[in-house]
């Protein structure tokens, strides 16, 4: 009996190992054969992006929706809640049936969200049967016919409330949440992505279903199919699965896309101190930056370079403040980084410092550094530009070694308005950025405008 069990287990292990080997082929082949994405529009209004790679033995189906904080009105945290509840059940499938379906065809499913989007994805082997099952499960059962039963929503709500409690306990997360609020003063973008305990604990299954029907609709969807599937076959698969569920715009309440109007940071809201006792203090300064809509694409590339000159890597202006320029009796802190939080109309650019040192001295030095760039007193040098471009291109390549990473990057760029071209032409766009463009952006961001400041003590 034991012997038989062991044989079965061995078969199971061998099957896992074969899968591992299969997957590895896709990774190496992928990097060597980059393919240009093709974009088409489906009859129901959804956008389809295909990324054909004949050498890949896997297929990724990745669905993005342009939905988020601007749509949440009085229910902040709703989009995040949906990404947690998505897999709990479907209108035509129980949780167990979904689990079996997914287990039968492939390797995994997942979801994520940001301030302006929600994502759900599935990965399968590239055989016809596996891709068919993946498309049917993801598109028909989860995207077009989700369940959101009271039990599923209650469970997701509990999960999210736990995440909110943990977020509150994290000093940096709390600081950056408050910074969002200060920078996006009147905009819904200023709310915490997870919502707050009060709003989330009162979200009902009916509200989730109504919100989903209104905002998770074809006209707001970008569907990416990447891997060993031709564009024509990808389109057939997607249309078959979605048409079977009659997933269309018909009968849905209107849901115009809200793009928050550009804001100025009010001077009276510039600085706040959270007063958190802790061995380490956090100091963060935030500025409004260009958004990701396509019309600002060259500016977005320049923003990435500017961000890298200031805080991307360690040979940066901010990090050098810590390591090279400050005498030991005037320490700055330990972790000095920048963070770019993209949004479609206006993004949030922030520099933050964590350490045990007095915030006042740190504050003065960081602000002086940004002002020097904003006024042109310390212009960006050619060497800084060369380093920033090499760093950005190197990271871009390193972070896209997997097909899933590439499908995410292309889907995200298309959803956020940059367009898939931003991904496929990344190196060219970055290389084309000129010093003058970076300086112009620096003047725009740090010259006249005031930053918002949040510190913990």
């Amino acid at each position: 009996m034991t012997g038989k069990k062991q044989t079965l287990s061995l078969q199971s292990l061998v099957s896992v190992l074969l899968t591992l080997l299969l997957m590895s082929l896709s990774l190496t082949a992928l990097a060597a054969t980059p393919t240009a994405p093709e974009i088409t529009r489906l009859a129901n209004g959804a956008k389809l992006v295909t990324l054909y790679d004949p050498a890949s033995p896997i297929v990724v189906i990745d669905v993005f929706f342009r939905v988020g904080m601007s749509d949440e009105a009085q229910k902040p945290g709703m989009t995040a809640l949906i990404t947690r509840a998505w897999f709990s059940d479907g209108r035509f499938r129980t949780a167990n049936q979904l689990r079996r379906d997914i287990g039968a065809y492939g390797s995994g499913v997942g979801s994520s969200f940001g301030g302006d989007f929600a994502e759900i994805w599935s990965i399968s082997e590239s055989s016809d049967a596996a891709v068919q099952q993946s498309a049917q499960t993801l598109l028909f059962n989860l995207v077009a016919s989700p369940g959101f039963s009271p039990e599923a929503v209650a469970s997701a709500r509990d999960d999210q409330l736990r995440a909110i409690a943990l977020e509150k306990a994290n000093p940096l997360a709390s600081t950056l949440n408050r910074l969002r609020q200060r920078v996006w003063f009147e905009s819904p973008q200023g709310r915490p992505l997870l919502g707050n305990a009060d709003s989330v604990s009162h979200i009902t299954a009916k509200e989730v279903q109504a919100y989903y029907a209104r905002f998770f609709r074809p006209s707001r969807a970008v569907i990416v199919v990447a891997g060993n599937v031709t564009s024509a076959r990808a389109r057939r698969l997607v249309e078959q699965s979605l048409n079977a569920a009659d997933w269309s715009e018909a009968g849905r309440p209107a849901a115009p896309e809200n793009l928050p109007a550009p804001e100025q940071i009010p001077a009276s809201l510039r600085e706040v101190n959270l007063g958190r006792p802790s061995p380490a203090s956090v100091f963060a300064v935030g500025y409004l930056a260009p958004g990701t809509l396509k019309r600002e694409l060259p500016q977005w590339a320049a923003l990435m370079v500017l961000d890298t000159v200031l805080g991307g890597g360690k040979a940066t202006r901010l990090f050098r403040l810590r390591d090279d320029l400050i005498p030991p009796e005037q320490p700055v802190g330990y972790e000095i980084r920048t963070l770019l939080i993209p949004s479609r109309t206006q993004s949030l650019w922030t520099a933050y410092v964590i350490g045990n040192n007095p915030t006042e001295a740190t504050r003065t030095r960081v602000l002086a550094l940004l002002t020097a760039l904003g006024t042109g007193a310390e212009p960006v040098t050619d060497e800084e530009l060369v380093r920033a471009k090499a760093y950005l291109k190197g990271r871009h390549a390193a972070e896209r070694q997997h097909l899933k990473d590439r499908s995410y990057a292309i889907g995200w760029a298309e959803t956020m308005g940059l367009g898939a071209r931003f991904e496929s032409d990344f190196d060219t766009l970055i290389e084309a950025v000129k010093v003058e463009e970076v300086m112009q952006l620096g003047r725009q961001m740090f010259g006249a405008a005031a930053g918002a400041i949040v510190s913990t003590r």
Binding site: L21, S124, E167, I341, H402
Partner: protein, 483 residues
Amino acid sequence: MKEIARQILNLSTAMSALCLRRLPAALAFIGAAAALIIPLLPLCAAAAPPAPSVQRRTLPSGIRVIVAEQPGTELAALDLRVRVGSGAETPAENGTAHFIEHLLFKGTGTRKPGEIDLAIEKLGGELKAQTARDATRFAVVLPAENWRDALSVIADMILHPAFRPGDVAAEKSVILSEMAIARTDPMRAGFDALAGIAFDREDAYRLPLMGTEANVKAMTSEALRTFWQRWYRPENMTLVIAGDVRATEVLEEVDRLFPSMPLAIRSRAGREERKPAAPVTGARTTIRDTGGEDVTTILVGFRAPSAGTDAAPVVAALVSLLAERSDAGNAQGRLKDSLVTRQRLALSVTADYVAQRGESLVIFSVTGLRLNAAKLENALLAEFDKLTGTRFTNDDAAQARRNLLQAQASNGSVEDTAARLARADILTLSAEETDDPGQYAARLLRVVTPESLTAAAGEYLSANRGTIVVIDPPVLPEPPVVP
């Protein structure tokens, strides 16, 4: 933004065992959420293993070189490990390995502070470093055509450090800042506290990874140079290069850049020669210093067998059944089912099997609201009490083996391949099993059984062998009385 979330998921595990330098702090909740991932087969396709051709060689200088050829990736990952960390220090030296890791970035005889980072970043990479108990690591991933230039910079940095007194003085404040941050991180602060009571008084694993504040403040360039001369020798190093490179070219270049060094100071005995002492049982301590305002984190640590032994995967398998690894996304485990879902006492439950060359450490971490702290601690210990009498089944063993295979599998990226090979070399794991998942799977089938799991639960994870660290919020000042 998703990259940030992913980094954080990776970071939380690493922080339990390593002292990370120059990586962003936890930002899990800002900008985008961590992906909610449900891997239903033992492996997510995004986490596929490589099938690289691996060559190992010890060069005349003594440096061990491992090359994993992954043609077509167009990238190269360099991962250099020096077999010295806090586990090799005496109490008086404690903190020196970590201090050296910092100081090496300050330059060489020909490079000023900042120039090492600048050189590497102009090649398209970012050099990162970490100090652990068994080794110090320097790693970079960059376009493959630049691997030679990057290696040349790293060799200069490692073999010709300047140790300028002014740089030593400046770096003290940076390290003291890092120590302050570590005190706000329950896993980092908790790991040091657990190790401090779990290991024997004579065992260097007991020492804090970054040393004491007093040691850092007293550090001199002479002390750093003496320690560096003893340990930073080619025969004490393993270099792994993975990616779009050729082994013959790599070996030739490493041979040129890492020549033999005259023996200036004899190395001390490695820790594998020490005998494990009797376990410390029932110790408990409280830290009241973290940044969390309303939450308490409770860590329970158990000493576990060395990474290279047959018992190690059994304990690791057991841990995988009990709780998710701290980097495993949304996976489930028995402790999570009980403490989070059913009893609703915990906000999160994670576990780490911290593999070490000497005795390893298993750490369970639960976080809950401060007001539930006492109940949570009792409930957690009750779970370990129950565990002692549990009889594991064939299904449990099969699940545990799948968990381990998934954890062991490389995700196929060049940096993961390099890190996996380097880690295995430092921990003296079997090269055959590291290169061939089939051999590893065969061993798991042999050693991870219902009987071995049941025995390991009683031997290693019984409640009375656990050491406990409770991390409470800081004491808040009384709010001012408003008339």
